[in-house]
Amino acid sequence: MKTSSKEVQDSVKKLFEDGRISHFIGYEAGSDSLRVTPCFLKSGQTVSRLVWNPLCANNLAKYLLDLRKVEGKVGILVKGCDSRSVVELLKENQIERDRVFIVGVPCSGIVDGEKLLAVLGISPGDVVAVEDGGDAFLVTTREGKRRVRKEQVLRGECLVCRYPTPVIYDVLLGEAIPSLPWVRDDYSLVRELEELSAEEKARYWNRELSQCIRCYACRNVCPVCNCPECIFDKKAPRWLSKANDISENLVYHLIRAFHVAGKCVDCGECERACPMGIPLRRLNKKVEKDLLELFGYTAGIDVEQQPPLTKYQVGDLDEFL
């Protein structure tokens, strides 16, 4: 993360001064040193609040939906994955391209706070700051500086990220990163499960999904979950009972996986938000893999590309006779 908070602040300040944006969505320091929080600016005076560091996990694209109606252009800070969500929002005509100003930052990975604490053997209060140091993170702790190899503490989605540089932007802060050295097998998590027997798979998912408390954080944090009324909130017909049991949880997660099919860009927000630690990426990755294998489709790359399940070819694979 060669780009510094200062660079972000300066560039946003300039955008406000030049009248190019009226709002800006970025990150600011959170309530402790392992957290950042979304930050909404309405003028250039407060740009000093903005930060950019390896803790900036939130996918801010979701907030573009909330600021659709404001006067002027909305500026937003996006990483590679976030930019792909923006592409998906544009594709669905959820936002207008000329109403947003996209400030891209190349990102070489976000820290998983829990992994970091475990690797360093420290508690949250011991961390003062986390910085990008190329192939390692530089962690300032109360006891001094420590270096941690990135691969040990990156978030799961960053370990398989193919798009560290935003795919769409109006201005790019810092140098583009073509690829990340640690990314090898994109779908090992999925393949591992695919190889199990039906019985084993059922047991695995039953155990995982029975933990779900249906707080809907995974849905609400997801930028492509933007229906004005979600199918799960509908009263008539009721697709999903409010009772929490395994069959309802199954319905919820399967339908959700299907609803984000072809739109999910694996930003990992659902898994990050889940308080119960359900491996939701494993579900979404499976659909992503199938769409790639069946239709050669990858989401969030090109605004002009039509989602795979809304079109067809006469000569598509036919497994059904």
Binding site: K201, A202, D245, S247, L254, F258, K286, D290, F295, D316
Partner: protein
Amino acid sequence: MPDIKEVQTEFKPKILAFCCNWCAYAGADLAGVSRFQMPTNVRVIRVMCSGRVPPELVIRALANGLDGVMILGCHPGDCHYSEGNYLTRRRAHVLKRLLSYIGIEPERFQLRWVSAAEGAKFSAVVKEATDKITALGPNRWVDKK
């Protein structure tokens, strides 16, 4: 909610079939008037097109404990609405893999093409599905701990 259903002694699968109004439903009729023998495990729901059956319905049915779900539509190229079955086909490929991934045997979800003239095929498809699902046993996904 605790299960209040009675435990069946001999396993007779419950299978749901969404039949397209323009082909498979007429095919089912033909199978009936032609007096083809077939198992009685299949409950038919008439829909206007196989494209009308979203994955949600299939998932809901399987989660509710049905042992199998079929979508029976027009052969590719014959859709009354030109393209409904093509879209269904794409979705079904993904759904089938997703269900299998989560541990629901792929045989429990089937998409088959049955035209209005294929009464014999309808009965064969129903028989085949019933046999396969009977062999699998009841859909006990929700009980797998």
